[in-house]
Symmetry: C2
Subunit: 368 residues, 2 copies
């Protein structure tokens, strides 16, 4: 992998040079990980003319989930945990041939930025902006392979849950069991807090698992994802518990299913982000539930669970090939519950088979 990371750092250097900066200080954890494969909390990466250097807040813990220490990048450990690795890196930068330093102003606090300016007064500070996030947008094969494994783990954990008894168990316990199963199947951990909603909570956006117990006739919505080698994915399904689904449940499910399928099928290179939102939203609006749909029908995934692109009405830009995104429309009827269907897919050219579905758990309405 180390050549991969070196190539990424080279691309970043080219971008910085084009913007007139001889050095960059990367402090956002997923960006540090992307550029050198290793990112314990608080670590920063300095790319200077004379060398690349990782500055660590403390001795490496050796936790494999943090990645592997790169062989081709030097590192220093701060003597005291009170120190700020970003300030220490800026202090070293001039000695490594830097006169200007591009920093992540969307991540550094005002106080840290001031401390950096103070320790290296001769360093011209400018804004690196979201350059590394832009580089991360289109994924390489190794990255998609990691997300694919995360998706397989997520499908396994979800599949096992469906085989167990659900009635009478609380949302909280089902969520904890799913997270345990993710780890059982090789995940570094959960990609985000597992969401389980039953009855009136089913299909609600941002619902936190409660002590409500699963009952006969409930909708049950589950949204989970594994983290594998730093990469994350998402899968969400809605089921009916026990009996035959009620008419309103079947009708609502069919609407969300049709909307989600429309969104998935729209995932081809060149389509506008907002058009994926539009074709998904139109189906829900046509059924009269438009005002119950969330502000965004999907988003990119990778080293973070929420990355660009954002698939929403206001989003700018077009999809590229090899961009993993979620498509996750949900409709929640206050007091009654609702449906959310969530997949992680990779945008592919039609010639390559079209959108690649990574989360393959069935989407028929199962009565469990």
């Amino acid at each position: 992998m180390s050549e991969v990371h070196a190539a990424r750092r080279l691309r970043l250097r080219e971008r910085c040079a084009a913007a007139g900066s001889t050095a960059a200080l990367v402090s956002r954890e997923p960006n540090v990980r992307y550029l050198c494969g290793y990112a314990p909390a608080g670590a920063v990466l300095l790319l200077a003319p004379d060398r690349d250097l990782l500055v660590l807040p403390r001795e490496p813990s050796g936790d494999p989930a943090e990645g592997r220490m790169p062989e081709d990048v030097g590192h220093v450990v701060l003597p005291s945990p009170e120190g700020d690795p970003a300030v220490a890196a800026a202090d070293l930068a001039p000695g490594f041939g830097a006169d200007g330093l591009a920093v992540e102003e969307h991540h550094l606090t005002v106080a840290r930025h001031r401390a950096i300016a103070k320790v290296a007064p001769r360093l011209r500070l400018n804004d690196l902006g979201g350059v590394v996030e832009q580089l991360r947008l289109v994924k390489e094969d190794e990255e998609i392979a990691a997300i694919r494994i995360a998706a397989e783990i997520s499908d396994q954990a979800l599949g096992e849950l469906l085989e167990s008894i659900l009635v009478g168990r609380t949302e909280r316990h089902l969520a904890l069991e799913l997270e345990r199963r993710l780890v059982d199947h090789g995940a570094d951990g959960a990609a985000f807090p597992t969401c389980v909603g039953t009855g009136p909570n089913a299909g609600a956006a941002h619902h936190t698992p409660s002590d409500r117990r699963v009952e006969e006739g409930d909708f049950l919505t589950v949204c989970l994802g594994a983290r594998y080698r730093g990469y994350r994915c998402e899968v969400g399904r809605t089921f009916v518990i026990g009996t035959e689904p009620a008419a309103w449940q079947i009708e609502l499910y069919e609407v969300v299913f049709a909307a989600q399928r429309a969104g998935r099928e729209a995932l081809v290179p060149g389509v506008a982000h907002r058009d994926v939102d539009r074709v998904t939203r139109q189906v829900v609006e046509a059924a009269g539930y438009g005002d119950l749909l969330g502000p965004c029908v999907g988003h990119g995934v990778g080293l973070e669970i929420h990355e660009d692109p954002r698939l929403s009405p206001a989003a700018m830009g077009k999809l590229d090939a090899c961009v993993p995104v979620t498509v996750e429309p949900g409709v929640h009827l206050p007091g009654r519950g609702g449906v959310r269907i969530d997949d992680t897919l990779v945008v592919r050219h039609a010639a390559d088979g079209g959108p690649e579905l990574l989360t393959i758990t069935t989407k028929e309405l199962l009565a469990l």
Copy 2:
């Protein structure tokens, strides 16, 4: 509780007025929660001359773990999740009689601060600094009561683990089981990622639970804590598995135990933070393990798991009564393992019975 929060906001207003600012924008989540009892992710609190206002990034989820929406503070929800509540609040501030606005420069990024200055060009921006963190340092009875319950939950979860079979189970599974038990006993969740270390991993600082299985003769170190109504605590213990402890294990345990006791007994109002570190460290140094002790023997806890004060050699300041802190010296022998003993206590006057131990799980060296 709402009078409590109103009184806290009044104290903050007084500090701001003294610093010449008519309004404050609080964006750090634990600070928002401290001042109004409610803090969904991303929410900010504006304290302006004409009114207090919560600006929320989206509709409240109703998750009780986020606290309860205050009755005496108004709130607005951003129309789009792309918006920044801090920028929206700054936009509203002049209309509520603010001419100056104190912001948390140790939390706001350079980019957000610039956006705030742009949306409200006539607003004098200055630095609120760590004023709210300072107000949070000495805890009120309600706060200590919440930490006490978090400690009881943590002791219960740990106690149950000690009654179960441990040999052959992985660090990862023991950690997940402990987190489930925390929730079973009423925690909102874990206060921090549960740490379980066995054999060579025992006693290591910042160890992440691995797939190593517990073996006969191992040291087993467990560090966990519950989150209850936003408040956090920490308890850590080290055990020996199965057989009689080896001589080196007993010797090392006695050193860390004596050091931790010295630190606990030093927790009286008026003692310097660094002196608590010194009396703890001296015991470890006298035994020849000084260079294996971490940079800090304890820290404050509350709405965050790491708060002021920091009990380290470089720390300034003195302990006050009603400040909850941890005392957690640990010694790790590379390749062999080690011992960490961690309690949460409240600093109390001798007349009030001296340091109040919240985490009461036994500290004798148990062979499990």
